[in-house]
């Protein structure tokens, strides 16, 4: 039996409708969207348009033109950070951020951007007051992951959104670990910029993602070129989404992303969350019974996504993961999960943890198989 417990990296499998949408688009709507006058190009264009509309509705985005497709969440974050922050600006992030946030900001530091990392507690929880205290006159952006990819800890986006709105500072949310399992309302949560990968809990294929840019927000494009519009001009268009949408889009992938979100809508985000919560709870309860196990992050299901990080005292996590993979075809992820600051926060740097992450398609039977296999390995 093959068991895939690495859904925080990318979800697998996808709903059958996602494969079908990609296949259909590749085989029957193979034209370039927005680049031709013919009907097939317009059909491809309609796929892109409908995908934007589906995303807009899902995140309560008032106008679908404010959605810019990217190839993943990291590209969306890079566009937001490098397109917005200027020398002399100050940004605030949490200590649970992924390298997708930390590395571009580190690069911007060389250009004169200052960054404050607000420390989270040992479970990865963030006190909003600490963020408030770090706001300076030149604070131009607050960046927050909605949930940690290491511990699953949900961060207080709503409270930070209120602080950001009160102080007139834009909030960029990295929803890599929550989009598709926790409802996100960009208006209610005062989110100015929302970066999402399409291939995780939104159940789309790899190579998809998007950035929501709120109305009137002035970003500089990172990539310029053909947009299928204003072709007579040498300048990049100044309107959305074309300003940030140069080059041919990943139409089959975007069709798959649309199908992924439609699957979530059909099933309901609440049903998906309840299933994943049940899996996390079952897993944590069974894991706790194993000797020398240490679980990191909150144990309360209400405070986390379906991600569980743990270590076994005296054992190398890589050895355990190798044995799980080789002998039992169970796939987990070990190490630092591209989030060294998060591991420093929870005290697992530089060794890292074994990370298990679930999706709607995992079962209790798979968890039982994992626990039984782990017990055999440890004995």
């Amino acid at each position: 039996m093959e068991v895939y417990f690495d859904n925080a990296a990318t979800s697998y499998p996808k709903p059958p409708s996602v494969y079908e949408a990609i296949n259909f688009t590749l085989q029957h709507v193979g034209a370039n969207p927005g680049r031709g006058e013919h009907s097939l190009s317009q059909s491809a264009n309609r796929i892109i348009f409908k995908a934007r509309e589906t995303i807009a509705e899902f995140f309560n985005i008032p106008n679908s033109r404010n959605i810019v497709f990217t190839s993943n969440g990291t590209e969306a974050i890079n566009l937001a950070l490098k397109g917005f922050l200027k020398p002399g600006d100050h940004g605030i992030i949490s200590s649970m951020e992924h390298n997708s946030v930390v590395r571009p900001l580190n690069s911007l530091k060389n250009d004169g951007v200052n960054v404050t990392i607000v420390q989270c507690d040992k479970e990865g929880k963030l006190n909003p007051d600490y963020v408030f205290k770090e706001i300076k006159k030149n604070t131009r952006l607050i960046v927050l992951t909605h949930a940690s990819n290491v511990t699953g800890t949900i961060l207080p986006v709503e409270e930070i959104g209120e602080i950001a709105a009160k102080k007139g500072i834009p909030l960029l949310v990295d929803a890599a670990q929550t989009a598709g399992t926790i409802p996100i309302d960009v208006l209610r949560n005062n989110i100015s910029l929302l970066a999402c990968p399409g291939h995780k809990s939104l159940l789309g294929p790899q190579g998809t993602g998007f950035l929501y840019i709120c109305e009137g927000f002035n970003l500089k494009p990172l990539i310029e070129g053909g947009t299928g519009s204003n072709s007579e001009l040498s300048e990049q268009p100044d309107f959305l989404p074309d300003r940030f949408q140069s080059g041919t889009l990943n139409t089959p992938g975007i069709a798959g992303l649309k199908a992924g979100i439609e699957f979530i809508n059909k099933k309901s985000i609440q049903t998906i969350k309840e299933h994943e919560d049940m899996l996390s709870k079952t897993f944590i309860n069974k894991l706790k019974e194993i000797n020398r196990v240490r679980i990191y992050g909150p144990l309360s299901i209400k405070e986390k996504t379906a991600v569980v990080s743990f270590n076994i005292k005296g054992k190398d996590s890589a050895d355990i993961a190798t044995a799980l993979d080789e002998k039992y075809q169970i796939m987990v992820r070990v190490g630092l999960h591209c989030s060294p600051h998060a591991h420093k926060t929870i005290g697992t740097f530089p060794d890292g943890t074994i990370r298990v992450s679930f999706s709607i398609f995992n079962t209790v039977h798979e968890i039982d198989y994992f626990i039984d296999s782990l017990k055999v390995i440890l004995n």
């Binding site: 927005g34 031709g36 006058e37 264009n45 348009f49 509309e53 519009s229 072709s231």
Partner: protein, 80 residues
Amino acid sequence: MQKAIAVFNSNHDALLAEKLLKQRHIRIRPIIKPRKVSSSCTLALEFGVENSRKVTEICVSNKLLLAGIFQKRDEEWVEM
């Protein structure tokens, strides 16, 4: 019946207009934008000229990037 066309400066907005006009039960036909009409989107929406005001209103109230509404007179496209 006399026809008019609406043209847009953005492909996205042309499709958004198509959706909004259909929702308001205005009969439209997507066509390839005539070369003589200047706008940056290749899609044009054709409709009965009697709906011109309604189409304009919908486009303006939804802040769409409408490049103009045109009507063919003596083989020339004239902005309305």
